[in-house]
Symmetry: C2
Subunit: 322 residues, 2 copies
């Protein structure tokens, strides 16, 4: 556990510390940064949280979220900590602040992390939030409700609310210690998992309504046109999650969602449920991905693209796709 | 902790034990019964799990679920344990087995439990599964994966996957010990929370599509007709959950779902989000419920009933409903 001690010593040593969240910030990088920010305040230190992008609306309930500043507004600090950034590129325009610093620390749970800082606390965990918890614990800082809420959000978002395979017994034990502080669990869950804009909800319903099942219900295909998105008053980002709803149909083994894109192409998301390797479909169309989650880009029209995907999916399920 | 010791002593003393799950069995009563069943087998005891109703389809993946029998098929046993039954009526037709037994034990987490058995291990907890975990622990029975999976299902279903206010630090610590056994967390989560029949998914999409917002988006009302249900190939039970999807719209404070019922009436489900007390609407219409979840029955046609609900909801939000 030398890395944890190193990280704690780093934070104890420096009094003016800049925390960097990664670009397109998620719950883990933000929750981890704000928790560490709150902890450093408890120690009487000066700290800043910096990110290339602003806090997404869904995370604006986070304590300390109003403290986030873009790199251009940051004051130079001699100590910089990258939080949840697997490599330097993930810091975006904040990389300049990192390079200008005299002392650098890297706290991250990604196995691909290349230990780019001087001190590196890089360890496999459900979320970087777990490592921040360990650091705060090691520094003997009292976990108040604000810090605890940030840590909870970091951990629950990166573990799919304790449902992904990265959820370990340690994750649960840390969550127990976090709950000891009396955080408002139902409120945090509502903010994170139960709040949806009406246009997005309508677009999801449309995606489900347009879904068709094939091959005894084992294949589900749906598509979303630019007109669909406009008719719901939604944006193309609101299509996120539709593919999961379709994959969750009990009979489905292979799910595909085709989306018309602003650039005139058709984006295809593919999901498998158990044994079918949907990356094989994606690869045949010049795309790629993992066994159970893959994607590719096709040419319009959508209907023809869907027809082709269906053919490949049938071949895949019937074992003739080589 | 005398009650826990009593429960453990009860189970240690008897060799032929009948476990009773409550009527309309849920994940907690079933997971708790099957976990205890598995544990008693480990001790070399003879055990039976009895329930008035069969195992619902969604819980048939549970280890030992094929062991559940109706009361008529149960062999008389001198020792009976009621699991997750707040009162004797919850045991349904199994009450006869309870009354015929020489020794009775009651293990339950409901605060309304009236201690109807000779020995009663009744304690507040997120789920009865937590109490069963304590008993198994107290009996020093090794938690194998099958027993652990059953306990996990009991706890995660009754705590809304660790999101309701009944989720305590103890809940999380028990979950950590359960995860130590190496249960397949993603699989269990998929079975419980990510598996939906296509007709139900389509009906939910229809419910969302028909939802309308009023009063600056603070009120959402939708309705489901018998024809809607038929058009999706769904059943009236498949309407469950639609009201929650509508309440989750970010701007909504009051949500209502009206459903045509087979008996020719209109069933109304009402949900509040934060401060609006929807039981006031229900009460005015002869129904009742809690502040954030209430319901009532109205006369058709649905459109007129919806109009009336909207009027009451506007009065409620504008503070003129007394």
């Amino acid at each position: 556990m030398g890395m944890l001690q190193d990280a704690a010593r780093f934070l104890r040593t420096h009094d003016d510390i800049l925390l960097i969240a990664h670009v397109s910030p998620d719950g883990d990088t933000l929750g981890s940064c704000f928790a560490l920010y709150g902890a450093l305040l408890e120690l009487g230190k000066h700290a800043q949280v910096v990110c290339e992008d602003p806090v997404p609306a869904i995370y604006r309930f986070l304590p300390f979220s109003d403290q986030l500043i873009p790199p251009e507004q940051a004051s130079p600090a001699e100590a910089v900590v990258c939080v949840d950034c697997a490599d330097l590129a993930r810091t975006g325009r904040c990389e300049l602040l990192f390079r200008a610093a005299k002392a650098t620390l890297n706290i991250d749970h990604h196995s691909t992390n290349d230990h780019y800082a001087e001190a590196n606390y890089v360890q496999k965990a459900g979320a970087t939030g777990e490592l921040i918890f360990n650091v705060i614990n090691c520094l003997k800082i009292t976990l108040n409700k604000n810090i605890a809420s940030c840590l909870y959000v970091a951990i629950t978002t990166d573990t799919g609310n304790f449902s992904y395979s990265n959820t370990t017994p340690d994750t649960m034990r840390i969550a127990a210690d976090i709950l000891d502080t009396g955080i408002d669990l139902p409120y945090l869950n509502r903010c994170l998992f139960r709040t949806v804009p009406f246009p997005k909800l309508k677009l999801h319903a449309l995606g489900v309504t347009k879904a068709k099942l094939y091959d005894y219900g084992r294949i589900a295909i749906s598509y979303i046109t630019l007109e669909d998105i406009a008719s719901c008053g939604a944006t193309s980002e609101d299509t996120e999650g539709i593919i999961d709803a379709i994959r969750d149909i009990d009979s489905v083994e292979v799910a595909a969602l085709l989306r018309e894109s602003d650039d005139g192409l058709v984006r295809v998301s593919l999901r498998g449920k158990t044994s079918a390797d949907v990356s094989k479909i994606a690869t045949r169309l010049g795309g790629g991905g993992h066994k159970l989650a893959a994607g590719c880009t096709m040419s319009p029209p959508v209907a023809e693209a869907a027809e082709q995907i269906l053919g490949f999916a049938i071949e895949l399920l019937h074992g003739v796709s080589e």
